[in-house]
Symmetry: C2
Subunit: 118 residues, 2 copies
DNA sequence: GTATTTAGTCTTATTTTTCTGAGTAATTTA
DNA sequence: TAAATTACTCAGAAAAATAAGACTAAATAC
């Protein structure tokens, strides 16, 4: 059976099966981890949100994990941190434009997850 | 800002933001872990494949991890294990029909991953 | 001048995941 | 009879991820 018999090559042209770092593993690395999806989901659901509000909204998250995850999401360009130098300090997090292409894909994954749960 | 202002709710209706177990986390749990994607990718690329062939194809995987991952994928209904009682024993793994809906989604994630890498 | 709020930091555990590498049973090949 | 192949299993170690919880600085409110 040759490679061209398959319609759904989800990974890269000639380096399948994912023996090297591929875009798919990049993507899953970015949204992987215990708190990334809850954060994205909260920001998508409620729009720009302050640090402490996020912490209250996302049940069970600790400072350590929330800070770490937000920093990673920011570094990966999915989340924007905006600091307002008021007193008391206000810091808001929101999704970036980059995330717009991701959300429908997560929607599809959600549908698939529902199907497989049954 | 009300919830209905958002077009892309990727998670469940009224339990956002993912405070409970949601279909999206189910989906990511199934395809998460270091070796799941390489396995799915190899099986998608080459069709039904024997255990030792998989092990050779997927660089760096150990018996422990390959067996564990294959068992989980089988339990989640993504991979089918077929045993032929020849001598020497032949065991083949292949993707199930269930996986067909998943592959295009992974394709989309791959495209997104490529974009974000640049 | 004491307490509170905000957005975190820091250090030390604990848990989870992954790796290492040897071992196994059944059978065929040399 | 020895070596090789197949599809694994298993115990222990190392590495990575996550958790717990105390602590901080700057400022305002009481």
């Amino acid at each position: 059976m040759s490679a061209s018999d398959h319609l759904n090559h989800f990974c890269s042209e000639n380096i399948c099966p994912c023996q090297e770092k591929c875009p798919l593993s990049t993507a899953l690395g970015i949204i992987g981890g215990k708190w990334k999806i809850p954060i994205l989901c909260a920001l998508n659901y409620d729009g720009p949100t302050r640090y402490n509000a996020l912490r209250k909204k996302i049940k069970g998250v600790t400072n350590t994990m929330l800070v770490t995850s937000l920093k990673e999401l920011e570094a990966d360009g999915l989340v924007l941190r905006t600091q307002y130098n008021e007193m008391p300090l206000r810091v808001e997090y929101k999704l970036t434009e980059n995330t717009n292409n991701l959300l429908p894909i997560l929607g599809n994954l959600t549908v698939w997850g529902k199907e497989i749960e049954n």
